[in-house]
Symmetry: C2
Subunit: 333 residues, 2 copies
């Protein structure tokens, strides 16, 4: 037996260890079709997009959201960044014996409210109960079906040197809000960005249409992991301007205190997009007018250095971005 015979926590963190696990266990068995490139959602014949996500977040209630809101927004966002307009969700609950009915009600009220806001319908579901100790409280899974926007032409093969990299708001708020809530850091003043990116997706497609090359929502592993995934197998690389990467004041302070790089901290309501350069300014202007979009920014450019991501520091020096193995924060979503 070697060190690879047991699942380790880092394999769920969205970093390099996650990528290796998914490659070895999932892509090796199920790759070769819609799964290739591991998009946030599968594009199916007939213009459908299909996605799923399980939510195991702890704590279940946090500044800016709760497990129910997250479970809807997580799947809705995966469909949106894949070019889809979300339509239908499934809702599967696994409950631990002894779980509070009141808390279940609060979580489901949030599911309902968020689904209504997003104009998605919960159309099918499943509810299981497991004996006490077999699960910590509640796990939620949602799967979603959306209809692909006609104007969407996303694809890794469409990336070109010179394309701009945009983010729709400050990064890392979700992860740092969870960290603060978990460790009882009172007055951290960080609220999760947990929310739908629907308005941001509507605007970027309205303005740029086929000029939108690729999008992701930077959840596990944060912006750093998502850009690494987007450029995997691409002849393009990226140069990011460190000073341009938007981070809210509270998150920046908490990151400094803890030594965590916000580049690798999860968001739950942001878009990272690669677009044709001529649309970048108009997209940013529109995004900044949206609630939550004040910090939207152009953070860098694609170049011809296959897959490689470099950061230009505040004083001009260049360094290579290295994806961490794991994530300092398990159960972030």
């Amino acid at each position: 037996m070697n060190g690879n015979d047991r699942i380790i926590l880092a394999q769920g963190g969205g970093g390099a260890a996650s990528a290796k696990l998914i490659e070895a266990e999932i892509v090796s068995r199920f790759g070769g079709g819609a799964l290739d490139g591991l998009p946030d959602a599968a594009s199916l014949p007939g213009g459908l997009v299909f996605s799923t996500d399980s939510f195991v977040i702890s704590p279940r209630f946090f500044p800016g959201g709760n497990a129910g809101k997250l479970a809807v927004c997580g799947t809705v966002n995966d469909l949106l960044v894949s070019g889809g307009i979300p339509q239908y969700l499934s809702l599967a609950l696994v409950l631990e014996e002894g779980f509070s009915r009141k808390e279940l009600g609060e979580i489901l009220d949030s599911v309902r409210q968020t689904a209504d806001q997003e104009r998605v319908r919960i159309v099918t579901g499943d509810t299981k109960v497991v004996p006490k100790g077999a699960l910590d409280g509640i796990f939620i899974n949602t799967a979603g079906i959306g209809v692909m926007r006609k104007e969407a032409e996303l694809g890794r093969d469409r990336l070109r040197p010179g394309d701009r990299i945009l983010v729709s708001g400050g990064i890392g708020d979700h992860g740092m809000a969870i960290l603060a809530a978990r460790h009882g850091i009172a007055g951290a003043g960080v609220s999760s960005d947990c929310g739908s990116v629907r308005a941001f997706a509507d605007e970027i497609f309205r303005i740029a249409g086929g000029g939108v090359k690729l999008m992701r929502d930077p959840t596990r592993g944060g912006l750093g992991a998502v850009l690494t995934e987007l450029l995997k197998g691409s002849p393009c690389g990226a140069e990011l301007e460190e000073a341009s990467i938007p981070v809210s004041e509270g998150t920046r302070t908490l990151c400094s205190m803890t030594g965590i790089d916000p580049l690798f901290v999860p968001c739950e309501g942001r878009i990272a997009a690669i677009v044709s350069p001529e649309f970048a300014d108009d997209i940013l202007a529109a995004w900044r007018r949206l609630p939550g979009g004040a910090l939207a920014a152009d953070i860098g450019t694609l170049n011809g250095d296959a897959e490689e991501i470099v950061l230009r520091g505040n004083w001009g020096g260049l360094r290579r971005m290295i994806l961490p193995e794991g994530d300092p924060l398990p159960r972030i979503c």
Copy 2:
């Protein structure tokens, strides 16, 4: 606080307690559309069917299957009994830190093999890892999309007195196989019926088309719970012939030993169908020719006694079928 403030195990068992929980927490919030009547899968505009299921079974390997095979067949069967032809699946894994990579590989090999046999594609997924103790091993969720058969016209409003009730094989094998495996009853000789009902669905629609009124796969709560659900809100009731209800030799013996009524023991590869009487004999003849279909049987008739299910015993007496509150076997699927 009263006794209703905590989730109890019986609420996951598929019996009366489950039905009450789902009514209070799910239907109250999300009902009024595709969820009404709680079909196994939602019928969506455009001829799609959509379903989801989480799998928390213990033990994960059992005579006749394992968690991976079950996770594919469970959702595939929900689509099939709803009149759909399964096309695409999502696969969401939640793994406990320390889970065996070898066991994960075996489970995923089964997922792959079963999906290939069923001609469904795993097109999207999610993999989470939670700290040791937050989950017992592995939970799997699948969601599935299928295309509705053109000839399917399922609907509670189509039930009529005189319609026949058919089952496609011996009932209760899955539940009793799990019970035997869990309690180390060696030589019980009971193997789970875990498998796809694809061939059975193909035959019933080929023979009866719109003459198929309603179908379910009798999983949690068994045949008794499924018939109760099918007749809920219907002007029809049912009279079942106890002697006609097929139970394999091994399951009958184990049930006698344990005092468990096979009528309420889960299957994972059977169909319960209500059909126009003129098709019943042809369907049964076709089903009996299929692997696993030798015990297929006509077990009773619809009558005009709204929602009520009665059993005619082996000596002619009638008794009302009472759905148990819970299920003697948690984590059956």
